[in-house]
């Protein structure tokens, strides 16, 4: 065994030319003494050549490679899981909504509520086929159960295209209501504004407020002040009140302050004036909602004697300051 160890050390040291002269002659002696030793020497030599060849593999890491593969496999699994979970979530939510409605229906009422965030617009079709376009920052509630009446409550602006089916359709807003059978009309009733407006495009509607009924004819617009009892009826170009449903706003000789009020909701920004006189400038033109906001302010600067400053805020609405040029 001792000899064995010595022989191995002599053979391997020889591979690296690390034997002294004495050691080298000792190795030669041992190799010549036994055929077995020589055979061992030969096989260690070929082993050595092979070891040197494995140098090619030293640049690779099996662990690193596997970690990358595993990460990818897990990522794909997670993606697939999320994909399935997405549908599962939809099913669960619709199931919950379903049971919610069912429970309410059993009690006799079931109010659905649609809220449109600022800067967004939505279009929906009610059970009876009536189409409703809801403008930015509006909320619509409707009773999905009632059989002999169709009742909706509006906060904000909506355009209604009511399907005629024999039962009255009522829109409640603020302290008034519009009663119709089947027509197209627009209602503006934002809480933060002191007036509401109903504009009739076609058909016939009744405005019911404080137990007085007022009839409106096509192209007529009624303006209701929150504070006063009196109401005003004007003939208007109804295009403006329809066009927003198509993503555009047509202004004909409109005061800038009224234009900016719309823009504030539409683009979810805050618009301020540095001088009162600027508010009363008149603006004519069509604004397309799908156009970026900066294009619109550029147009203002081009058409009106104003200077516009845009402040981007991270945690609150962006601010637009309009001043005299």
């Amino acid at each position: 065994m001792k000899n064995d160890k010595q022989l191995w050390e002599l053979i391997t040291s020889n591979l690296y030319r690390e034997n002294s002269n004495d050691e080298q002659s000792e190795l030669d002696k041992q190799l010549q003494s036994k055929k077995r030793n020589e055979k061992l020497n030969d096989s260690v030599h070929s082993l050595h050549v092979d070891i040197l060849a494995t140098n090619d593999l030293r640049g690779f890491s099996k662990e690193k490679s596997w970690n990358n593969i595993r990460k990818e496999v897990l990522r794909k699994r997670m993606l697939r899981f999320l994909n399935v979970a997405k549908y599962a979530a939809i099913v669960i939510v619709s199931f919950l909504l379903g049971t919610l409605f069912l429970q309410k229906a059993e009690k006799g009422t079931s109010i659905a509520e649609i809220r449109v965030p600022l800067g967004q617009m939505t279009e929906l079709t009610l059970d009876d086929g009536t189409q409703v376009w809801l403008n930015s920052g509006s909320t619509l509630k409707y009773d999905t159960k009632s059989d002999n009446e169709r009742l909706v409550t509006l906060e904000g602006e909506a355009f209604f295209d009511v399907t005629k089916n024999g039962t009255p359709f009522k829109v409640f807003f603020k302290d008034a209501a519009v009663e119709v059978l089947g027509t197209r009309f627009n209602v503006i009733a934002y809480h933060e504004e002191p007036i509401s407006q109903v504009t009739l495009v076609e058909g016939k509607v009744n405005i019911n407020r404080r137990s007085t009924l007022t009839k409106l004819h096509p192209s007529e617009q009624i303006t209701i002040s929150d504070k006063h009892k009196n109401m005003r009826i004007d003939k208007v170009n109804t295009d403006f009140y329809v066009s927003w449903t198509e993503g555009k706003m047509v202004f004909e000789e409109e005061r800038l302050v009224n234009v900016t009020k719309k823009l504030e909701r539409w683009y979810n920004v805050e618009i301020r004036f540095t001088e009162e006189s600027v508010k009363n400038l008149y603006f004519c033109g069509t604004i397309l909602k799908n156009k970026p906001f900066d294009q619109i302010i550029n147009a203002f600067e081009l058409l009106l004697p104003v200077k516009i400053q845009y402040k981007h805020n991270l945690h609150s609405k962006d601010q637009v300051i309009i001043s005299k040029r």
Partner: protein, 182 residues
């Protein structure tokens, strides 16, 4: 576990089976690809990609021959893609060895086995061997670097070779045992 069994498990979605396959062929695929692409990092990525692709497409893959030749064929195709994407001359592609020649792969397998056995050496011994064999350091230099005597270096080198020889000779049942214990 048999190859066919292993593939069946991968096919079924068993990540551990994929890991075994990877462990089995990673080095030989790298070595084989290294003949075509000199960049180790790129080779490793391409080889890793083969296993990722195998996993992703496992449901669709119909093996006509062995999983081994499928992997190498995939590797070959991916290397060709690498050449094309880098807009390198495709001349070399034609020189890529044909994978159908299993001996080509098995020849590499011999070095892989040796290298994996080197990795089984105790860490210090392996380091000493690597310094001598791959970094061309003398026994004295190694001794100094490792804070050991020259004599210890000599002993460690001898033991390393002995370990490798004993574990690689035909009928290497011992190696079989330790590899599977790991």
């Amino acid at each position: 576990m048999k190859e066919s069994e292993l593939w069946k498990n991968v096919h079924r979605g068993d990540v551990d089976a994929l890991k075994i396959l990877h462990g089995k062929y990673f080095f030989s695929m790298c070595l084989w690809a290294k003949d075509a692409v000199a960049d180790d990092e790129l080779v490793e990525r391409v080889v890793s990609d083969c296993f990722i692709a195998l996993w992703e497409n496992r449901k669709r893959i119909q093996l006509r021959s062995s999983i081994k030749s499928y992997l190498f064929q995939m590797l070959r195709n991916k290397l060709i893609d690498v050449y094309r994407s880098r807009d390198l001359t495709t001349q070399y592609v034609n020189e890529l060895p044909d994978v159908c020649l299993e001996e080509q792969v098995d020849l590499k397998q011999h070095y892989v086995k040796l290298y994996e056995t080197i990795l089984l050496l105790p860490e210090q011994r392996r380091k000493i061997l690597e310094m001598a064999a791959f970094e061309g350091m003398t026994y004295n230099e190694i001794a100094e670097k490792m804070h050991i005597s020259k004599n210890t270096v000599k002993t460690q080198i001898a033991r390393a070779y002995r370990f490798l020889k004993e574990n690689l000779d035909p009928g290497d049942f011992y190696l079989f045992c330790i590899l599977h214990k790991k």
